[in-house]
C-alpha cells in the first residue's frame, strides 16, 4: 500500500476562498455599487474571466506537468468554447433576426 504523505489541500482551499471573494465582489458591483451600467458590465465580465482562470488553475489541473502526459486539455476547452458560441450567437440569431 502506497502510504502517501497526508497533506492539506492548500491549493483547493485558496481557490475556493478566492472564488467566493470574486463572487461576492461581483454581487456587490451589480447590486451595491453606484457605477454606471457600462462599468458594471465591464467589471463583472472581467471578474468572470478571472474566476474561470482560477477554476482552471486551482481545480482543473490545467498546468500540472506531473499529471499524466501533462498536456493542456485543449480538445475539451475548444468544445467548451464552441458550445458557448452556439449558445450566444445562436440565441442572438434566433431571437433578434427579423424583429
Amino acid at each position: 500500500m502506497s502510504n502517501q504523505v497526508k497533506k492539506v489541500p492548500t491549493q483547493h482551499i485558496v481557490g475556493f476562498v478566492l472564488s467566493l471573494v470574486l463572487t461576492a465582489l461581483a454581487v456587490w458591483t451589480a447590486l451595491g455599487s453606484d457605477l454606471s451600467t457600462a462599468w458594471i458590465i465591464t467589471i463583472i465580465m472581467l471578474l468572470a474571466v478571472i474566476q474561470a482562470g482560477i477554476q482552471l488553475v486551482m481545480f482543473m489541473h490545467i498546468v500540472e506537468p506531473e499529471s499524466q502526459n501533462g498536456h493542456v486539455p485543449w480538445n475539451m476547452i475548444f468544445h467548451g468554447f464552441v458550445t458557448a458560441a452556439i449558445v450566444v450567437v445562436g440565441s442572438l440569431f434566433v431571437m433578434v433576426y427579423g424583429f
Partner: protein, 644 residues
C-alpha cells in the same frame, strides 16, 4: 401556512394516492424492522460505492418511475377515451401530462440508461470501478432525491402544471403562483447535478481506465455510445442548469428574465430549454442505439457490420444535435430565414441515423438469428423507429410543421422514437444483462408474452394518433370532440395493452427469481465483449486480472485463445474504495434544503444548505485511501465462483 394548503385536498384520486403511499411506506418499514434488515440496507446499499449496486438502484428507481409515469398515462388515456368524460378535471389533467412527461424523460429514461451504463461500461472496458466511485454514489443520490422531490408534489403542495417544457410566461410566478412549478425547477436542478457528474465520471472512466491494449476503436459499441452520450451531457446540461436557475430566481427572488413585465424575454426560455432539450433527446437515444447494436451482434452471432461507420455516425449525430433546436418552435415567429436554416440542419440529422439503420440490417443480413426476447425487442425497434424518424423529418420541414406543430401528429412522433427507441432498449438491455446482474435469466415465455403485449399495444396506441393529429386534434387537451372519438378509443385500448405488458414484465422478475436456473458460467449468451468474461455473480472487484486486448470483440478472441480474467500467476492485491455514507447524507440535506426553497422558507433552506457545505468540508479533508483485496481472498473467491 395551514395544513390544507400544505397537503393537496379535495381530489379522490389523490386521497387514494396518499393512502397507497402511507400503506407502502409502513409495509416497507415493518418488513425492514421485522427481518432486522436496517443494517443490511445501510451497509450494502445506502453506503455502497460499487458501480454494479449503484446501477441496480438506478434501474429499480427507474422501474418505479416507469410505473408512476405509466399510471399517469393510463389516467390520461381514460379521460380521452370518450368525449365529455369527467374522470379528470382540467387542472388535474394539466398536472398529469406535466408530471408524465417530466417523469418519463428525466426520472425514467435517463436513469434507466445510466443504470445500465453503470453496470456494463466498467465491465466492458475491463475496469474495476468508475474513475470516481464516491462521485458516482453522489450522482445516484442526487438523482434519487431529485426524483423524490418532484414526486411528492402531487400530495404535498400540488404538482406543476405548465407542461414538461414549462414555457414562460405560463410557468412564471405571475401565472403559476404557488409551489407547483418550484417542485419542477428544484427537482430537475437537484437531479441535474447527478447527471452532469455522471457524464464527467463516465467520460473519465472510459478515457482513462480501459484494460491494457484496448484502443478507442476497439471499444464495445455500447461503451462508445456512452462516451458520446457523456460528451453531450457535459455540454448540454449546463444550459439547463442555467435556465432552471434563472427561472428559479425569477419566481422566488422576483427577477425578470422570462417575465412579460420588466423587459423580460419569455421566448428566451423556449430557446434555452430546447438548446438543452434537443441534445437531451439524443442523450436518451444514443445509448439505446448502443444496446441494440450489442444485442443484434450477439444474437446474429456476427461482428457488428460497419463498426467504424456506427461510431462516426454517432459522433456526427452528437455534433448535429446541438444545431437543430429551433425545430421545436418554428411557429414562434423567428422568420423564414432562421426556420430554413434549422429545417436543413434537422433533415441532415436523419442521414447518420439512416446509416445506423443500414448497419443493423447489414449485421442481420445472412446471419443465423437467435430469437431471444432481447433480440425481439431489437428487431421490433428497427421498423418502429423508422416510422418515428420519417415523421420526424416531416416535422422538420418548417412550412409543413405549421400544420403538424402541437397536434397529436407530434405526440405520435416523439412516442414512436422514445418508446420504440429508448423504452424498447431499456427492456432489451435489462433482459440481456439480467443474468450478469442477478445470476439468472428472465423466463423466456413470460418475456415474450410481455414483449408481444407491449409492442402490439404500443402500435395500437400511437399509430392512430398520427391520424388524430392530421384530423386536427391538438395536444394537451383534456376533452375530445366527438369527431375524434373512434381513434382515441382505439388508442386507449392499446395503452392498456402496454400496461398489461409491463405488468407481465414485472411479474416475470418475480417468477424468474423463483424458478429460473442459476447461471453456471459468466457467459450467458455466448457473448462477444468483456463483461461476459467475468464470473457471475461478478465479484466486487470485477476482474481478478485484467486481460490484454488485441482487437474488437475482446472476449471472442479470449475464448479462441483459452484465456480468462483469472490468471493465477498474475494476481496482485487489488486497491478498492471504501463504502461511505457521506453521499447519501449530503444529498439528503440538499433535498431538505430544496424542499424548503420550494415553499420559499428561506431560513430553513439556508440552514440545510449550511449542512451541505459542512458535508463538503468533511469530504475535502477526508483521508480515506480505500482498502486492498488480498491475493488469497481473490484466489478463494474466484476458485469458488468458477468451480475450479
Amino acid at each position: 401556512m395551514s395544513l390544507d394548503e400544505f397537503f393537496v385536498t379535495g381530489e379522490p384520486l389523490i386521497y387514494a394516492g396518499m393512502v397507497a403511499i402511507v400503506l407502502v411506506t409502513s409495509a416497507i418499514i415493518f418488513l425492514l424492522t421485522y427481518f432486522k434488515k436496517w443494517g443490511w440496507l445501510w451497509r450494502e446499499w445506502l453506503t455502497t460505492v460499487d458501480h454494479k449496486k449503484i446501477g441496480i438502484m438506478y434501474i429499480l428507481s427507474a422501474l418505479a418511475m416507469l410505473f408512476r409515469g405509466g399510471a399517469d398515462a393510463l389516467m390520461m388515456r381514460v379521460q380521452l377515451a370518450f368525449p365529455d368524460l369527467n374522470f379528470l378535471n382540467t387542472q388535474h389533467y394539466n398536472e398529469i401530462f406535466t408530471t408524465h412527461g417530466t417523469v418519463m424523460i428525466i426520472f425514467m429514461a435517463m436513469p434507466f440508461l445510466i443504470g445500465l451504463m453503470n453496470i456494463v461500461v466498467p465491465l466492458q472496458i475491463g475496469a474495476r470501478d468508475f474513475a470516481f466511485p464516491y462521485v458516482n454514489a453522489l450522482s445516484f443520490w442526487s438523482f434519487f432525491f431529485g426524483a423524490l422531490l418532484f414526486n411528492i408534489s402531487f400530495v404535498i403542495g400540488g404538482s406543476p402544471d405548465a407542461g414538461w417544457t414549462s414555457y414562460t410566461p405560463l410557468a412564471g410566478a405571475a401565472m403559476s403562483p404557488g409551489p407547483g412549478q418550484n417542485f419542477y425547477l428544484l427537482g430537475l436542478q437537484l437531479s441535474g447535478i447527478g447527471t452532469l457528474a455522471t457524464g464527467i465520471n463516465l467520460m473519465v472512466t472510459i478515457l482513462k481506465m480501459r484494460a491494457p491494449g484496448m484502443k478507442l476503436f476497439q471499444m464495445p459499441i455500447f461503451t462508445w455510445s456512452t462516451l458520446v452520450t457523456s460528451f453531450i451531457i457535459i455540454f448540454a446540461f449546463p444550459i439547463l442548469t442555467v435556465a432552471l436557475a434563472l427561472m428559479t430566481i425569477d419566481r422566488i427572488f422576483g427577477s425578470q428574465f422570462f417575465t412579460l413585465t420588466g423587459e423580460g424575454l419569455p421566448m428566451m426560455w423556449a430557446n434555452l430549454f430546447w438548446m438543452w432539450g434537443h441534445p437531451e433527446v439524443y442523450i436518451v437515444i444514443l445509448p439505446a442505439f448502443g444496446i441494440f447494436s450489442e444485442v443484434i451482434a450477439t444474437f446474429a452471432k456476427k461482428q457488428l457490420f460497419g463498426y467504424k461507420a456506427m461510431v462516426w455516425s454517432m459522433i456526427l449525430i452528437a455534433a448535429l444535435s446541438f444545431l437543430v433546436w429551433v425545430h421545436h418552435f418554428f411557429t414562434m415567429g423567428a422568420g423564414a430565414f432562421v426556420n430554413s436554416v434549422f429545417s436543413v440542419s434537422t433533415m441532415l440529422i436523419a442521414v447518420p441515423t439512416g446509416v445506423k439503420i443500414f448497419n443493423w440490417l447489414g449485421t442481420l443480413y445472412k446471419s443465423k438469428i437467435q430469437f431471444t426476447t432481447p433480440m425481439l425487442w431489437a428487431l421490433a425497434f428497427i421498423p418502429s423507429f423508422v416510422i418515428g424518424g420519417v415523421t420526424g423529418v416531416m416535422l422538420g420541414m418548417a412550412a409543413a410543421d405549421y400544420q403538424f406543430h402541437n397536434s397529436y401528429f407530434l405526440v405520435a412522433h416523439f412516442h414512436y422514437v422514445l418508446i420504440a427507441g429508448t423504452v424498447f432498449a431499456c427492456f432489451a438491455g435489462l433482459e440481456y444483462w439480467y443474468p450478469k446482474m442477478f445470476n439468472h435469466k428472465l423466463n423466456e415465455k413470460f418475456g415474450k408474452l410481455s414483449f408481444w403485449l407491449f409492442v402490439i399495444g404500443f402500435h395500437v396506441t400511437f399509430f392512430p394518433q398520427y391520424f388524430l393529429g392530421l384530423d386536427g386534434m391538438p395536444r394537451r387537451i383534456f376533452d375530445i370532440g366527438p369527431e375524434w372519438f373512434t381513434l382515441n378509443f382505439i388508442s386507449t385500448i392499446g395503452a392498456f395493452g402496454m400496461g398489461l405488458g409491463f405488468a407481465v414484465f414485472v411479474f416475470n422478475i418475480y417468477y424468474s427469481y423463483r424458478t429460473s436456473q442459476r447461471e453456471t458460467t459468466g457467459d450467458s449468451w455466448d457473448g462477444r465483449t468483456l463483461e461476459w468474461a467475468t464470473p457471475t455473480p461478478v465479484p466486487h472487484y470485477n476482474f481478478a486480472t485484467q486481460p490484454t486486448i488485441r482487437g474488437l470483440d475482446a472476449f471472442v478472441e479470449m475464448k479462441k485463445h483459452n484465456e480468462s480474467t483469472f490468471d493465477e500467476s498474475k494476481l496482485e492485491p487489488i486497491h478498492m474504495p471504501n463504502n461511505t455514507g457521506q453521499p447519501f447524507i449530503m444529498m439528503a440535506l440538499l433535498f431538505m434544503s430544496s424542499f424548503a426553497l420550494v415553499f420559499e422558507w428561506m431560513t430553513l433552506a439556508i440552514l440545510f444548505l449550511v449542512g451541505v457545505i459542512v458535508m463538503m468540508v468533511v469530504r475535502s479533508f477526508d483521508e480515506d485511501e480505500g482498502h486492498h483485496v488480498e491475493v488469497e481472498e481473490i484466489k478463494t473467491t474466484e476458485r469458488q465462483l468458477r468451480g475450479l
